[in-house]
């Protein structure tokens, strides 16, 4: 195996210019879906209606028990049969976001349960409405605590985005593979893809660690 610097420089702009942007786009938007939907799932799991709790529980178990790639194929190839057709990137964002929402839901649940019972009791004693108690008292205490855990899920999510290659999303890995197949030489582009992921994951994990320290200080 030999390494060709000239070739590496040649393929780099294509991988960074196109692939990196797509990876970041998918990661950011899928994370947002996971953050928002995860909170919704966590709240629905506390619904006073048992039926709602069962449905949400079933949904979470189903999503967690099936491979992400099956879900990606399902959304991409099966949904058009019922009239829902989405482009590859939105499909990927939704599917990965949904998948990770079942994990962030658990994170939120833990954060919500960590708010002392006395806070609920004080809200009851003041007759604060339930919705207002959530918005003004419980969530502002629960969410800051779980931000580092959410950040860690975003890092995991980032590393799963190349799965969207299978439905034609040209992310870092997709772009690298495309560059490589043009010259039948894969060592350099794939290595570059790996290094880009390393840089992204590592810098993100440094950010999460800083966040963790800030949260620990404010507690």
């Amino acid at each position: 195996m030999n390494w060709n610097w000239d070739y590496a420089w040649e393929v780099l702009p294509g991988i960074v210019g196109q692939g990196l942007l797509v990876t970041l786009e998918v990661t950011v938007f899928a994370s947002l879906v996971a953050y928002v939907l995860g909170l919704v799932l966590a709240l629905l799991r506390r619904s006073p209606f048992a039926v709602v709790r069962w449905i949400v529980w079933g949904f979470i178990e189903f999503v967690r028990s099936t491979p992400l790639i099956v879900q990606v194929f399902f959304m991409f190839f099966v949904l058009p049969n019922v009239g829902i057709t989405l482009d590859p990137i939105p499909t990927g964002v939704l599917t990965i976001g949904l998948h990770y929402a079942t994990y962030t839901a658990e994170v939120y649940r833990a954060g919500i349960e960590a708010v002392p019972k006395g806070q609920w009791e004080a809200a009851t004693a003041l007759s604060l409405p339930r919705g207002r108690t959530w918005v003004a008292v419980i969530l502002p205490q629960a969410i800051p605590r779980v931000l580092p855990a959410l950040g860690n899920y975003s890092i995991s999510l980032l590393k799963e985005t190349p799965i969207l290659l299978t439905i034609g999303v040209l992310d870092i890995v997709g772009a690298a593979y495309q560059e490589g197949s043009a010259a039948f030489r894969y060592v350099e582009p794939i290595t570059i893809a790996g290094v880009l992921f390393l840089i992204l994951s590592y810098t993100s994990s440094l950010l999460v660690r800083r966040l963790e320290r800030r949260v620990a200080r404010s507690n």
């Binding site: 009791e121 604060l128 409405p129």
Partner: protein, 250 residues
């Protein structure tokens, strides 16, 4: 003002209140004393609707808190009914339970604005007056974590008063405080008593009970053992259990 009619409270097989009868007149200051597990705190929690009765009825200001009448039969009250009745009641907790994410002022204005629909300037003016009353006019913009325990508890009292309750419940309000901070909280409570507030106080501060209370209730095993003027009960207890308890705490 308050009446407990044969109130039972059970957690599984554990009987916490056993056909308890108990009443408080308007303007009265009642202290509940007794060993832990005797049911004192449960009385407050039932009044605040943090727990529901297992049997019997609770009346507040001529209205039934625990039940509503459907046709000719009494049924357990729903949350909507309880919400209306409990708005007349304020509660102060052992652990203060201030909202740590809000500044002191917002802790106090939150409920009046959201529940009583006061506008911001109205609620703020009332909150500032209350802070002044508890001696913390300069702490409006502080967060609870920046205050001492005694200051936090005084804010908690102001927060409860902001809802203009007719009855105030205190659940061991000084038990979580350093000894040198107890006095400032008791002073605020004394002032409140002098202003004519109806108060039910669970406490271990016997000196305070003797000085301020109109009625002292000694409880044991979910029942009232002895009740009366605090001077009489504390210096001349009639029951063996009262004597045994007082000999340990006085």
């Amino acid at each position: 003002m308050i009446q407990f009619d044969a109130v039972d409270k059970r957690f599984g097989d554990n009987v916490v209140l056993d056909e308890l009868n108990f009443s408080v007149r308007p303007g009265e200051f009642v202290t509940l004393i007794g060993p832990s597990g005797s049911g004192k705190t449960t009385i407050l929690r039932l009044l605040m609707t943090l727990e529901q009765v297992s049997g019997g009825q609770i009346w507040v200001g001529g209205e039934c808190l625990s039940h509503t009448k459907r046709g000719e039969t009494w049924v357990p009250a729903d949350d909507k009914h309880q919400r209306v009745v409990r708005k007349r009641i304020g509660m102060v907790f052992q652990q203060f339970n201030l909202f740590p994410n809000m500044k002191v002022l917002q802790n106090i204005t939150e409920a009046p604005m959201r529940v009583k629909n006061q506008n911001k300037s109205e609620a703020t003016a009332a909150a500032e007056a209350l802070l002044d009353r508890v001696g913390l006019a300069d702490k409006a913009k502080a967060y609870p974590a920046q205050l001492s325990g005694g200051q936090q508890q005084r804010v908690a009292i102001a927060r409860a008063l902001a809802m203009q309750p007719k009855l105030m419940l205190f659940d061991e309000p000084t038990s979580a405080l350093d000894p040198e901070l107890v006095g400032e909280v008791l002073d605020v409570m004394k002032q409140l008593a002098r202003d004519g507030m109806t108060m039910i106080v669970v406490t271990h501060e016997m000196g305070f009970a003797r000085e301020v209370a109109d009625q002292l209730v000694f409880m044991d095993a979910g029942a009232v053992v002895e009740t009366g003027n605090p001077w009489d009960v504390l210096s001349n207890p009639q029951h063996e259990r009262t004597k045994a308890f007082l000999s340990k705490v006085l």
